[in-house]
Symmetry: C2
Subunit: 223 residues, 2 copies
DNA sequence: GTTGGTTTCAAACGAACGTTTGAATAGTGG
DNA sequence: CCACTATTCAAACGTTCGTTTGAAACCAAC
């Protein structure tokens, strides 16, 4: 085995978490897959909970840095002018989709991450909230600036819906197959499809319930 | 206690499954909440797995009947003409959102269901696939008829994305709160918001990657 | 070649899980 | 009132979980 035990455990855990879930994956399954001793997990990570955190942190920190980097590059290019919504969507969701296409573990991880936004386990939620705090701040500001006509609460909902679509795009392939035989092997096509859908949803006309209290009797398009 | 043990167990399980997940919810937690004896679950349902199935079946069958009923009503009204996409979206997603607003347990259940489309546990996936087979068939046909210009594969992806948005709309309120303080108490507003977003995404311009091989050099709008 | 620190290993730990058991209790038709 | 079925109950079952232990193996430095 060329890689060290710690890395083999992370890889095995990541992959098993995807196929069985966090709770249903046992340390014995992980260490067997990683060809390591059962006690190795507690030796290298301290506990199963700490292992879960390490699995997420290994790639999530990098992903969010990429997102912020892409956004910063667009903003430098725009010299203070508001970005196009498409650029912000690209920086947040495009980067994620591209990572999901990466066969160096990124693909596996993104399927795991997509499931975990709605994870009921408390410590996972808390951990994700911390990891996301900065990136959410930056993107909220950028979107608010780019879409000044959209009420902020309305936008937050749309952002939330977009996260749902992303989540299914990268992790819901089992659910997808319920719909019929379908080809999900082309990451470029998936990227184009999701971007189209997201921007269509983001720029949809404001619903009347929302547009009405805002004293704009007939909103046409959101942005 | 007015209701019978069997119902109390179903209610307790449904609610605990939402807050802790399927695996992390133990029979001891369920029977404690239901004020029943531990052995009552195996007496009334046979096993924990069978209980999970019963929890889903109790409401999911009814939900999908409602969906098919709504679609059938629209089709009768249209007398053979293709439906408007908005009507089909309403029949599938609108019915779900309305059930999610029902405080008689429907709300709890829909939060559980939203999480379960991407559930890694095999028997849950298999069970859901069976429960959904008919309703998916009906709605695929209706959509294909209503959107003859959209390649079927492209539509299936969009339907999948829409499921993701629905899932987050009804069950991802914890993830939603990561975005900031936000009011999710008004079901009518949520309904209007989601419908807007879904139809915007469904009718977005076809992505070039998809539009190109279809020999239509410049697709404008999907439908 | 011995030392000292790091990593691996087989074995065992107590706790908690889903399930089973057999007796006690409730409820119902004859 | 009795016989019988359905339900509840406390207790225990065997299994598996995450974790701990202490010794063995490894490995670089001197």
């Amino acid at each position: 085995m060329e890689t060290d035990t710690r890395t083999r455990i992370l890889d095995a855990a990541e992959s098993l978490f995807v196929s069985h879930g966090l709770d249903a994956t046992t340390l014995r399954m992980i260490t067997a897959e990683a060809q390591a001793n059962l006690a190795a997990v507690n030796y290298h990570f301290g506990s199963k909970e700490a292992l879960v955190e390490a699995v997420f942190r290994r790639r999530l920190t990098w992903l969010n840095e990429q997102r912020i980097g892409a956004l910063t590059a667009f903003e430098a290019e725009a010299r203070g002018a508001p970005l196009k919504p498409r650029q912000i969507v690209e920086a947040f969701f495009g980067v994620a989709i591209r990572m999901a296409a990466d066969h160096n573990g990124g693909q596996t991880f993104m399927r795991l991450l997509g499931r975990s936004y709605t994870e009921p386990t408390e410590f996972v939620r808390k951990f994700l909230a911390e990891e996301y705090a900065e990136v959410i701040d930056r993107f909220k500001s950028a979107f608010f600036k780019a879409l000044p006509d959209v009420p902020q609460e309305e936008f937050l909902w749309r952002f939330h819906f977009m996260m749902g679509a992303l989540s299914y795009a990268i992790s819901g392939t089992d659910a997808l197959r319920m719909l019929g035989p379908i080809d999900d092997s082309d990451p470029e096509a998936l990227y184009a499809r999701l971007m189209s859908f997201l921007i269509g949803g983001l720029r949809a006309p404001l619903p009347e319930v929302v547009a009405k209290p805002a004293k704009k009797p007939r909103a046409r398009r959101a942005a």
